[in-house]
């Protein structure tokens, strides 16, 4: 049952690929599944002629590191600002509009400015990921904080809780599962920004590789990387879900 839609997609791809290949046996757009498998095998095992490294793993390691730092940073910012905006009406009045506007700026259009601010190195890539997903996380977190029933906050106040204690003992525990959920939802955009960042100025990483081989429409390589990215992202997603269920047994089950 679970696999049904996957099998369907695979079948559609195989058929479409077959049709194109029967017209032009060297068509590169939709390589045959077997070609992709061969390419994948080669990519994960053959070292690069120049450097002797297996580029696939190198790319993966570098990209994952960038992603982890970027998303981690975004999650920390999202949680802190989300809490501040959700809990304190004063901060909400000052920042809410600003964050809403900020979240609407398409960061990719301002790349030149980001380069000047963060250089061309690792920082700019991490910054792009963080800038890309932080506004979403802040908005989602502050919304979730606002959804905490007023009674819970009042109850904590009557027990003598300071704002700090309300934040760390009532609000944070209750929105942590939401934060994990929100991080899961933003994994897709985070990869997107990572790939965009790596496509622009880089010498390694999955996004770099994809945009490089785009130069000769090596869809077999691209598809291998895309499947790999998707698998990685899904594993992260699944791990976070299980983590959330393990850490927060009191919270309802996550749906997807």
């Amino acid at each position: 049952m679970l696999l049904l839609p996957f099998v369907a997609v695979l079948a559609i791809y195989a058929i479409a690929s077959d049709i194109r290949l029967s017209e032009n046996p060297r068509d590169k757009l939709l390589p045959a599944p077997t070609t992709i498998l061969e390419t994948a095998q080669r990519l994960v095992s053959e070292p690069d002629r120049r450097s002797g490294e297996i580029l696939f793993w190198k790319d993966t390691a570098i990209s994952l590191q960038r992603l982890a730092i970027g998303v981690g940073l975004a999650a920390a910012l999202g949680l802190s600002f989300g809490l501040a905006i959700g809990l304190f009406p004063h901060i909400r009045a000052t920042l809410a509009g600003f964050v809403a506007v900020l979240s609407m700026i398409p960061p990719l259009t301002l790349l030149p400015i980001l380069f000047i601010a963060f250089g061309l190195g690792e920082i700019s890539k991490i910054a792009l990921i963080a800038i890309g997903v932080t506004p979403f996380l802040i908005r989602d977190m502050s919304q979730r904080v606002l959804e905490i029933p007023a009674e819970q906050i009042v109850k904590a106040q009557t027990l003598g809780a300071s704002s700090l204690i309300i934040a760390i003992r009532v609000a944070i525990p209750q929105i942590l599962p939401r934060l994990i959920q929100a991080v899961r939802l933003s994994l897709g955009p985070a990869w997107l920004f990572l790939i965009a960042a790596e496509a622009i100025a880089s010498d390694a990483g999955v996004g770099y590789r994809i945009f490089l081989v785009r130069r000769f429409l090596a869809m077999d390589v691209i598809l291998t990387y895309v499947v790999w990215i998707t698998a990685l992202a899904f594993i992260m997603d699944y791990t976070l879900k299980r983590l959330s269920e393990g850490l927060f047994p009191w919270a309802g089950k996550d749906g997807l």
Binding site: A150, E151, Q152, T158, G160, I168, R169, W250
Partner: protein, 256 residues
């Protein structure tokens, strides 16, 4: 020596008056039962005492201090829809009653933590929840949650305790045990108690005074034109002789 002073408060929602000209003085350590028809404004009155809401007019002072801006440790509460922290176990909920007010981080450590847990387990034994100490509230029955909410509020030892139909979901046996628990804690801490109840017997058994909320004026064509106020202020110690309250004048406590 009035401790709680309610001075001519009015409260309306969406322009509909709910409470009108409510004045009251209560001595330190008094136990005030509140009865009245469903929807007449009892819970609203408690919310005002709690400083969860501000009255449209008039003000409420405790111990002569300026009207509170928000709930705080001196006022404890058990809501009508009893609620505890769903993300904490039963035992943690109880400990929160102490740690939220006493510890900087809202959490005890080391020996203090062990001592608090010991005390909490004793209380849980007392209210018949010891076997559920490490369960989350979602696994409690309605009556069990209600008992936990009462015990949590008492653990914080507030100076003024506000109870909104606290024993409504309990069977007669458990109810009597909880009465004893409440009276004992009151004895120990000398707190002032306001309790809304629908059980007149209970109101007279526990209370020093029984306040009756009702609409003094009534327009049959427009039942919502006027708000409720205290129409009777009964001394529960002098064998239930009704003394009509003077709604406009601040009442002297009848407790000796």
């Amino acid at each position: 020596m009035s401790y709680v002073t309610v001075d001519d408060i009015h409260q309306s929602y969406d322009g509909r008056p709910i409470l009108e000209r409510v004045s009251l003085t209560v001595e330190k350590g008094a136990f005030v039962s509140i009865v009245g028809a469903s929807g007449c404004g009892k819970s609203t009155f408690l919310r005002l005492l709690l400083a969860q809401e501000r009255p449209t007019r008039g003000d409420i002072r405790i111990d002569g201090a300026p009207p509170a801006q928000e709930p705080g440790r001196e006022r404890g509460v058990v809501f009508q829809k009893y609620s505890v922290f769903l993300h904490m176990t039963v035992c943690e909920n109880l400990i929160a009653g102490e740690s939220f007010g006493e510890s900087r981080w809202g959490r005890f450590f080391g020996a203090k933590k062990r001592a608090a847990r010991e005390r909490a387990l004793q209380t849980l034994e007392r209210i018949g929840l010891a076997h559920m100490a490490d369960a989350y509230p979602a696994a409690l029955s309605g009556g069990m949650q209600q008992r936990l909410a009462i015990a949590q509020a008492l653990t914080a030892r507030p100076r003024v305790l506000l109870l909104d139909e606290p024993f409504g979901a309990l069977d007669p046996g458990t109810r009597i045990a909880m009465h004893d628990f409440l009276l004992e804690m009151r004895q120990e801490t000398g707190m002032t108690v306001f309790m809304v109840t629908h059980d007149l017997q209970e109101g007279f058994k526990l209370g020093d005074r029984v306040l009756v909320f009702d609409k003094p004026r009534w327009d049959p064509h427009e039942p919502e034109a006027y708000g409720a106020t205290i129409t009777y202020d009964l001394d529960a110690r002098r064998d239930n002789v009704p003394t009509p309250a003077a709604p406009d004048a601040s009442l002297e406590g009848t407790h000796p």
